[in-house]
């Protein structure tokens, strides 16, 4: 059944197709625009200083050509795509770029940006510790303070407590609205497709937070009232993995006869599940980003400094949020995807699959090189997997 596209989703679709559209307009009107890579640069600080945060993604349909001159092919293709687009001038609407030490290769991207992507007046890298030990959280708050100071200089204004508080409230509102949107995929069939959902997420990363919140309210209202729902499919899947910013995979899975009803990726739930808690200061931001975002890049233990280790307890402490999603969204299968050369996710795969097995959730693991082309050979495997779930 064809799905009629309503206004909110249509806007999301347009922005998804041309991500820089709104940011370019705002820049023309005098706003500063700050690009950021991965989830860890706190967008609240950018918003509070009157700038527009813009999450930088690569482009899965554009072949990497220039980046080969400055990086090797074993570097994560997502990052290589970003540098490639940067070298081609496709981020020329950004006044600055912020990276974070989410993974060791990811940290190096700011160095490459400085050396090979010209004309970005502001660059900054935030060091993110590897653990959630208490001294690490304190150190990370110090890193956020350096970022704040550096961005204040660039903005020509100070970050007051009041401005930060207002920005945190706006971003927390966005997180709450995203959770509401995901609730619309709990019914069977879900009220929107995963590809539609992804377009909304990508749009949120491309708009000022207030406009993103308006978009979300609009989409939620329209989807809740829509009569042309997606059809019922034979399986309800969860998709896990690092950044996936393109609808192709979701369309591929849905065309194989399954609905993707929830995800654990950094373009979906991982970005929006945790709120910043009061008091809305740098320490609270450090807690939200380092401790509450559940990304495999951080080393966690069931208990701090545990002298006995129990594998099952360890897995449960690391992945129980996935168990909750499995129950809440009534999931009966999982697709684990990863971009090639991503160590932080790669080492997780057999353990997470084991954990899903204990929940009675069958899974497959697929690998790609962050290009639409690399998804084609995966199709048959996905179809065979969905078949087994029938």
């Amino acid at each position: 059944m064809a799905i009629a596209i309503n206004k909110g989703l249509s806007l999301a679709h347009d922005i998804y197709e041309d991500r820089g559209r709104r940011v370019r307009e705002l820049r023309k009107a005098g706003r500063k625009t700050i690009g950021y890579i991965c989830l860890y640069p706190p967008v609240e600080i950018i918003t509070a200083l009157g700038m527009v945060p813009f999450r930088i993604f690569g482009n899965m349909s554009e072949p990497i050509t220039l980046a080969d001159q400055v990086s090797t092919t074993v570097v994560c293709p997502f990052l290589r795509s970003i540098i490639d687009l940067g070298m081609k001038g496709k981020f020329d609407f950004l006044d600055g770029v912020v990276g974070a030490h989410t993974c060791d290769i990811g940290a190096g991207i700011i160095i490459q940006w400085r050396d090979y992507v010209k004309d970005t007046p502001f660059t900054h890298l935030i060091d993110v510790p590897h653990t959630d030990h208490p001294p690490a959280v304190e150190y990370f708050a110090g890193q956020l303070n350096s970022f704040k100071r550096h961005l204040e200089e660039h903005a020509g204004q100070k970050l007051t407590d009041d401005k930060l508080k207002k920005a945190v409230e706006l971003h927390n509102t966005q997180r709450r609205l995203v959770r509401q949107l995901y609730d619309l995929r709990k019914p069977d069939p879900p009220l929107l497709t995963s590809a539609e959902n992804l377009e909304v997420m990508v749009a949120l990363f491309s708009l000022p937070v207030e406009e993103g919140n308006d978009l979300l309210e609009d989409v939620i209202k329209q989807v809740s009232e829509r009569s042309d729902r997606p059809g019922r499919k034979k399986a309800r899947l969860l998709v896990w993995g690092p950044v996936f910013d393109n609808t192709s995979l979701f369309k591929l899975i849905e065309s194989a006869g399954a609905s993707v009803v929830v995800d654990d990726t950094c373009v979906g739930t991982r970005a929006f599940w945790a709120d910043v808690k009061a008091p809305y200061d740098l320490q609270a931001l450090a807690q939200r980003y380092l401790v509450d975002i559940k990304c495999p890049r951080t080393y966690r233990q069931a208990e701090p400094a545990e002298t006995r280790r129990d594998y099952d307890k360890d897995l449960d402490s690391r992945f129980n949020y996935i168990r909750k999603a499995v129950v809440d969204w009534n999931v009966n299968g999982a697709v684990l995807q990863s971009v090639k050369y991503c160590d932080t996710h790669g080492y997780e795969v057999p353990n997470l699959r084991h954990y899903l097995d204990t929940l009675g959730i069958p899974s497959i693991y697929i690998e790609h090189d962050y290009s639409e082309r690399s998804l084609a050979p995966i199709k048959t495997r996905v179809e065979a997997f969905v078949e087994t779930l029938g």
Binding site: Q69, V74, I111
Partner: protein, 453 residues
């Protein structure tokens, strides 16, 4: 550096003029494997550790623990040609094949030990194998594999784990005022937490006097190895990269008895000084080209360097990640945890200081520019790996800056630390021959520009 007479028959036997002092240092690491097996058979705790730039090694040693380093063990698997079945075992247990070869071989080893042999050491394992660990010490320095792969080993071992921290940031953020003290404070607290964890785990107190003694020995070892490195700037180069790789474990992770190691490095310093005084080269052929190797070597094909030595290629320096820098002044503090924090932090941040001074954002590039100038380098042998991002990602920048700034050319040879199928010695030799003309050309260019070598 012009070519002279052909070598005699005896000289031809050994293309590389190995340092005598290297052999006993090379042997020290074997003792650690034997001691750990012995400790394990007596029911004593044993540790598998990642290279951690000393913040973890020294507390472990002060607590009397026996340690092995799977990264080092993987080089043994590679050089003895025994890695492949372990890599296959890792693949068969569902780990992606694109990850670090060291990680995959350790995972395969652990799988074989725990899932196939009920906890016994695989009989095919070289040097008696690695004893089963009772503690896994990961580290957050250099690459993510180094704590993620130990976390993944929870699949096979119920051994407790710890992940050591290390601040990491590029050059310019690293120049913030008070940054050093803020980082040292963080690392000191982390080292303290680690020691408290060890005390809880082992049910015994840290021997602080012993730790102080080991820190002092560590500083003296690093002072000595740093002096050796400095001497290697001489022409002809007195110490070959293969000798460095063979003798580095006692300074990189303090393999063996540290007192013995210090004495052996002092012997090495004398031998290298002797060679410098007498202009003795590290190859038994006239030194025609002075080469730097970056980064991790093809452990499975080290003989290949003999063929290059025969052509007059002297590998005068290598692998920045394996070199301890000149140690910092630790007398500023009496707290051993802070001393460890400063010692470890120095590994990363001393190269940042140089990079800032040169206004270069990539510290790896700066490091190699400095080496190229100081060591009067004719060319770089760059070895990007199919399975190690950390040691490969920056090499294109090294290549590009080296030519742009210093007119030093690079030979780009893809390979791997473990998988020998990727490296083609025959083809590389043919390319090396062509590269000689490039080096000759750029030598003239440098001279015409007055670059000094």
């Amino acid at each position: 550096m012009s070519e002279t007479a052909a070598p005699t028959k005896t000289e031809q036997k050994r293309a590389i003029n190995r340092l005598k002092s290297m052999y006993p240092l090379r042997n020290l690491v074997q003792q650690d494997y034997i001691d750990t097996l012995q400790a394990s058979s007596e029911g004593k705790p044993t540790v598998w550790s990642m290279l951690n730039y000393w913040e973890g090694d020294l507390p472990l040693k002060a607590m009397g623990l026996n340690i092995v380093y799977p990264e080092n063990y993987s080089t043994l698997l590679a050089s003895t040609g025994t890695a492949e079945p372990f890599l296959d075992a890792s693949d068969s247990d569902g780990f992606p094949t694109h990850m670090c070869g060291y990680g995959r071989s350790t995972i395969g080893y652990s799988y074989r030990m725990m899932k196939e042999l009920g906890g016994k050491i695989p009989p095919e394992a070289p040097v008696g194998g690695m004893a089963k660990p009772t503690l896994l010490l990961g580290s957050g320095i250099i690459c993510d594999a180094r704590f993620k792969w130990f976390q993944a080993l929870g699949r096979y071992f119920d051994a407790p784990q710890w992940c050591l921290e290390m601040p990491m940031m590029p050059t310019f953020e690293g120049s913030e005022p008070d940054l050093e003290e803020y980082q040292v404070k963080f690392l000191t607290r982390e080292v303290k937490a680690f020691i408290e964890f060890l005390e809880k785990l082992l049910q015994k107190k840290m021997d602080w006097a012993r730790l102080e003694e080991l820190i002092d020995l560590a500083v003296r070892i690093h002072e000595t190895t740093w002096q050796i490195s400095e001497l290697r700037q001489s022409v002809p180069g007195p110490m070959h990269s293969t000798d460095f790789w063979s003798s580095m474990p006692p300074s990189l992770f303090f393999a063996g008895d540290m007192k013995v190691a210090l004495k052996l490095y002092q012997d090495m310093l004398s031998e290298v000084q002797d060679r410098v005084n007498n202009k003795v080269a590290a190859i038994n052929y006239p030194e025609k080209y002075r080469i730097v190797f970056a980064e991790l070597p093809p452990w499975h094909s080290l003989k290949f360097f003999d063929s290059l030595a025969e052509k007059g290629w002297n590998f005068v320096y290598e692998s920045y990640g394996y070199h301890a820098p000149k140690p910092p002044d630790l007398n500023k503090t009496s707290d051993p945890c802070e001393k460890l924090a400063r010692l470890a932090r120095n590994f990363i941040f001393n190269i940042h200081e140089h990079a800032r001074a040169d206004n270069i954002s990539n510290p790896l590039v700066e490091q190699y520019l400095r080496i190229a100038r100081g060591f009067k380098v004719d060319g770089f042998f760059l070895h990007p790996l199919i399975s190690c991002r950390a040691a490969s990602a920056g090499l294109r920048s090294v290549q590009e800056f080296m030519l742009r700034k210093l007119d030093v050319p690079t030979l780009w040879v893809e390979g791997d630390i473990i998988d020998k199928r990727v490296f083609n010695p025959q083809e590389t030799l043919a390319r090396a021959e062509a590269f000689e003309q490039t080096m000759d050309h750029y030598r003239k260019v440098r001279q015409s520009k007055g670059l000094g070598w």
